[in-house]
């Protein structure tokens, strides 16, 4: 096969892939629109992730220390103290 013919074949094959992809994509889009409605997107008018995405940074800092054994009785005690004291502690830490 000549270079031009091969290039044309590749170009055709790529176009076919793109056409097939947009067909699949359109079907997916109409399914999403059926579920959420055509305008069910974020305030920006398009889909985006919520601000909670920042949580990932928090958890990647590994907060496992709160499960250390010495903290368990304290947590247990805290959970069972009267509400006003619990609130006072919370306010203190806040």
């Amino acid at each position: 096969m000549s270079n031009e013919a091969e290039a044309a074949r590749i170009s055709r094959a790529l176009d076919q892939l793109i056409a097939r992809d947009s067909e699949v994509g359109e079907r997916a889009k109409s399914r999403v629109a059926n579920i959420y409605g055509p305008t069910a997107t974020s305030s920006l008018g398009t889909y985006d992730f919520s601000d909670s995405f920042a949580k990932r940074d928090q958890v990647s800092r590994r907060g496992d220390w709160v499960h250390r054994n010495w903290l368990r009785p304290i947590r247990f005690f805290y959970r069972h103290v009267p509400k006003p004291i619990r609130f006072a502690i919370k306010k203190l830490f806040a």
């Binding site: 097939r20 709160v66 947590r75």
Partner: protein, 521 residues
């Protein structure tokens, strides 16, 4: 009206355990009509006379010829002796029995340690590959009478190992379903799924899977290694720009290193390599790649602005193999039989794409498949390889919603069917979209821990999410992003691990206890 019959095997259990289960049935908001206790030598009359049971009017029997058991409308609930059913479990199951013939759900397990709340086993939706590895569905299964009959009947199923029972039931059911709700309570020891090698071997025989099965007793997981009927040709597609980096102390051209290690170390040798080179590739890089690939190599030049998806598609259309291995240039094969393992998974015609465990240079996890939470994450990224994951999630072959395109093996027919990688995602999410397209077309995507590759991607690399890419992935797959079937809606959102959504792990305030934040009071 649908009637519920609870079936419990009393083999090896104590009176106390049986009574516990009985009391939970009596306390159920929708009570079963019968409780069939199979095996054991208990005095069921005495149990029936127990105050709470008597009041609840549940008929306790060991007689399998009760007419209700034959009724088509009956639902049979298998419950382990000693486990207690949640008060609302049967009424919740009843809401789903019209559409589904086999149901399982989440469970709560004892107290992990003093001062701790019971742990919960949150389960994914129907995952047949995972069920072959271990009994991830738990000990409570609710099946329609027809499914139970087709699987061998109550008397056979009740006394089987739970993994065996689950496999037999799932083989014959049509519409399995997970209910994301705690359906039963059990001991802490039952938190981790169990496995039976014999059960999986028999399952393979029944379903015509030609495989060698082995069990890891410590992890309670069975490996089903399929025998290859043939060794189909693979085209390894390596998109690269000839980058040079230091790997293990040596300066190497990444693509050349990936290709050379694959050729030298893989025990599967029926592959060619298609390197898609950017026009900016330096001559020395090109030469190194040519030397590494030798006669197997075909170079395809790419002279357009960077678009990862387009480069992969270009490589794919230039190949003639039935299987395509999409391989980043910053990778290296670890397990020599990785390609055999991946090809073996594709022996199952319902699997469209499969991928290995990817590890950083320091052997921490780079990717163990994607979760959509709703942001797509690589599960357990940067965790130690010794990390087993929730319910040994990382130790078993299982379905995933997506796989990182740094290393995946995909059927060519499937690649063409879904239109390859979407060129609307030049940088991010082309693999997420690809995985979802494959599943949307009815194929399964399977991740395996038994094939391992290095992916030397920088740990500090934070992919810059492009607004248009997020918008496009949301427009196409918002429903999938927000409810990943291989995740659970009760798990913590926006993180890359499988973690119960409870407070107590991130701040001092959270550590102090499960109370609402001050702002909400």
């Amino acid at each position: 009206m649908n009637q519920f019959v609870v079936v419990t095997s009393a083999q090896g259990c104590t009176n106390k355990e049986l009574l516990q289960t009985a009391q939970s049935l009596a306390a159920s908001s929708t009570r079963p009509t019968h409780w069939v206790v199979v095996g054991g030598s208990f005095n069921l009359t005495k149990l029936s006379r127990h105050r709470s049971i008597k009041k609840a009017t549940i008929e306790i029997t060991d007689d399998l010829s009760v007419p209700t058991l034959e009724r088509q409308s009956s639902t049979i609930v298998f419950l382990r002796a000693g486990d207690t059913i949640s008060p609302d479990a049967i009424s919740i199951i009843a809401q789903h029995t019209d559409q589904h013939d086999l149901i399982y759900g989440d469970s709560a397990h004892g107290r992990a340690r003093k001062f701790e709340e019971p742990s919960k086993a949150r389960r994914p939706q129907w995952s047949p590959e995972r069920l072959r590895s271990h009994n991830y569905v738990g000990d409570l299964l609710a099946a329609s009478q027809s499914v139970v009959a087709a699987a061998g009947g109550i008397s056979t199923l009740a006394t089987l190992h739970e993994h065996d029972r689950s496999l037999r039931l799932f083989e014959v059911c049509n519409t399995p379903h997970r209910i994301a709700h705690v359906l039963y309570h059990s001991s802490q020891e039952r938190m981790v799924p169990t496995a039976s090698l014999e059960a999986v071997q028999q399952h393979c025989t029944r379903t015509g899977i030609e495989a060698t099965c082995t069990i890891d007793e410590s992890m309670q997981s069975v490996r089903v290694k399929r025998r290859l009927r043939s060794q189909p040709k693979i085209s390894v597609i390596v998109p690269t720009r000839g980058t040079t980096e230091v790997l293990k102390g040596n300066q190497v051209v990444l693509a050349a290193h990936a290709i050379k290690t694959l050729i030298d170390n893989s025990t599967y040798q029926n592959f060619d390599v298609i390197a898609v080179l950017d026009s900016v590739t330096p001559d020395e890089g090109r030469l190194a790649i040519q030397t590494a690939g030798g006669a197997r190599l075909k170079i395809v030049d790419y002279d357009r602005p960077f678009n990862f998806a387009e480069k992969i598609n270009l490589g794919a259309v230039c190949s003639d193999a039935d299987l395509l291995l999409l391989l980043n240039d910053d990778t290296e094969i670890i397990t020599p039989d990785a390609l055999e393992t991946l090809v073996g998974i594709l022996e199952d015609q319902t699997v469209g794409m499969t991928g290995p465990m990817l590890l950083y240079e320091d052997m921490t996890i780079q990717s163990a498949g994607h979760i959509l939470n709703p942001v797509p994450f690589d599960l357990y990224r940067e965790r130690e390889l010794t990390c087993t994951g929730a319910q040994h999630l990382l130790q078993v072959q299982r379905e995933a919603s997506g796989l990182i395109a740094a290393c995946v093996l995909v059927r060519r027919s499937v690649f063409d069917e879904v239109g390859g990688l979407c060129t609307l995602f030049p940088f991010n999410y082309n693999d997420v979209d690809f995985g979802l397209k494959i599943q949307d077309a009815g194929h399964r995507v399977v991740w395996t821990p038994y094939a391992q590759f290095h992916h030397f991607e920088s740990k500090t690399r934070t992919p810059k999410l492009q607004t248009f890419e997020v918008a496009t992935i949301g427009a196409r797959w918002r429903d999938k992003l927000e409810d990943d079937p291989y995740f659970n809606p009760h798990l913590e959102r926006y993180i890359d691990i499988w973690k119960e959504n409870v407070m107590g792990q991130r701040s001092v305030l959270d550590a102090l206890g499960p109370t609402a934040p001050i702002a909400s009071k």
